[in-house]
Amino acid sequence: MDSHSANPASEEKSQKKGRILAGFLAPHPPHLVYGENPPQNKPRSQGGWENLRWAYDHCRSKIKALKPDVILVHSPHWQTVVGHHVLRVPQLSGLSVDPIFPHLFQYRYNMEIDVELADACAEEASKEGLIAKKMTNPNFRVDYGTIVSLHMLNPDWDIPVLGISANNSPYYFAHDYAQEQMIKLGEATRRAIEKTGRRAILAASNTLSHLHFDREPDIPEDMSREHVYSFEQYRWDMKVLELMRQGKTDELMAVLPEFMEKTAAEVKAGSLVWMLAAMGFPPLHAQVHGYGSVIGTGNAVVEWDLTQPTHSLPDSGDREAIVCPA
């Protein structure tokens, strides 16, 4: 029996229409967890990457204040070949060691999965004509992208979560085909949230520019050695962030293919487009909480707050009326 289906509170939620409260661009370099030294992570650091960690700090209190039922995360490090998968085990726990940076990330996780929402997401994705699968193996090791984004948004882990895989089709097929799938997946996710009555936070676990150095300093957190990979990469990141800040979602979508090509941007994995589609491509001024590089990659913590009184419907075109959050 799953943890939600027989739960009266869950049934109550399902009777009211759910909604997405906010979406976050929530990059997942394991360095951010390492720099914070939480008890779940074995390696110890002397800090590092504060601009990004403090950016996440701002988000944590806002998320708690919104009282969400669930945080959904789309992670490029759970790569699936056939279709789009959702975690569908009520409780997943274990030790996650990053195969790339094992010296930084050896994290003991324990997460409650919203399996009712997982079922709904899979069902709605299937209705969109997508291949959708439910991951039901209790021995499954959750990927570090999922864990890092969720930890940085809510280190207390006291809100149920739902992990969604990144289908590899962007790397096999044309960009358009892949993004079309992510738009369908986003729309399916939104319907699943609405039908199950969930108050949901979305997290797109994506780095921006993704070219990086293949050697690190002896002390990984030595910030005197940290800088963005190239000036061109930095300029691309700023261009994309400025479009987000100005709420120019259509222009952002238009520029993404070139951004991916020029900077190997990790948004190619589809997380950002999934989230924007789920939110209805809101012409909303996003708040950039912080930007910084991690081993050369460009990372930003960005929030789209859909609870703003001035937030308009996605197709209203009422961009000037939207107030940029302080």
Partner: protein
């Protein structure tokens, strides 16, 4: 680089999890499974002291990683095909040989790392290989990652450094390059009996490469490698083959293709070289 006379056998093998579990009769997977079993038996018959594995599914970024835990153990679940079954594992690393190989690779100018962490995720390809070649885990192993940033030249250099370490140790070694040929997956459900290559072009490229290997034209295979990697979408740019030829000194030895066929659209071949 002269040939290495303490390597008895070398293999190219696929590493997808479908080959590790029971599969229906009369499918391409069953033929590949049987070939893997045969390869394992051939390898063990030479009584090796160590199995040396390059796994294209163990992807590293900060140079080449060498597994250095004395006894990696745990339970692995494939991230794609988690419903096929689990991989419980416990095997021994030849730490002495590994330390020397890493040292020599670093001296050759390569970025290298020894990894020794509880819970480090062992990749599916390594475990599929171990199941076939080392079913009772009685033979110590050395495992090296596939560096995403390494080119073909560096991959050969890595193989040369590891060859030198083996030569210095005097150990009898079996070499395993765990890599697909073409690596384009079918992206829908697949009936094992009707599995097929993702495209006829991929099949043509794979067969062209295998013909060179069967003819002992390994030098020509290296020359064709960049085109093959690009056109067939070879797994990790076909770098495992460059590593293997670097290690073996590119011998003009013909290979035997024990099996070739599709696994979920990718090109899977079990290729055996008899050396000494």
């Amino acid at each position: 680089m002269p040939g290495i006379n303490c390597v008895t056998k070398a293999f190219i093998v696929p590493g997808l999890p479908h080959l590790a579990f029971e599969t229906p009769e009369n499918t391409p997977w069953r033929a590949l499974q049987q070939a893997l079993q045969q390869a394992g038996e051939e390898a063990r018959a030479t009584k090796p002291d160590v199995l040396v594995i390059y796994s294209a599914q163990w992807i590293s970024v900060l140079g080449h990683s060498f597994q250095f835990a004395a006894n990696p153990q745990g339970l692995h679940v494939d991230e794609n095909w988690y419903d096929l079954g689990d991989f419980p594992f416990s095997f021994k690393i030849d730490r002495e040989l590994t330390a020397q190989a890493e040292k020599l690779a670093q001296a050759a100018g390569l970025a290298t790392r020894l990894v020794d962490y509880e819970g480090f995720p062992i990749d599916t390809g390594t475990l599929v290989s171990l199941q076939a070649f080392n079913p009772d885990n009685g033979i110590p192993v050395m495992i090296v990652s596939s560096n995403i940033y390494a080119g073909q030249e560096d991959s050969m250099k890595l193989g040369e450094a590891m060859a030198e370490a083996i030569r210095q140790s005097g150990k009898r070694a079996v070499i395993i390059n765990c890599s697909s040929l073409s690596h384009r997956f079918l992206t829908e459900a697949v009936n094992p009996a009707k599995d097929r290559l993702s495209s006829p072009e991929d099949d043509t490229w794979n067969r062209r490469m295998l013909d060179l290997l069967k003819a002992g034209k390994n030098q020509e295979a290296l020359a064709l490698g960049p085109d093959f990697a690009q056109q067939a979408g070879a797994e990790m740019g076909f770098k495992g083959f460059y590593w293997m030829m670097g290690l073996l000194g590119t011998p003009a030895v013909p290979a035997e293709v024990l099996a070739y066929g599709p696994v979920w659209g990718t090109g899977a071949a079990v290729v055996s070289y008899s050396l000494n």
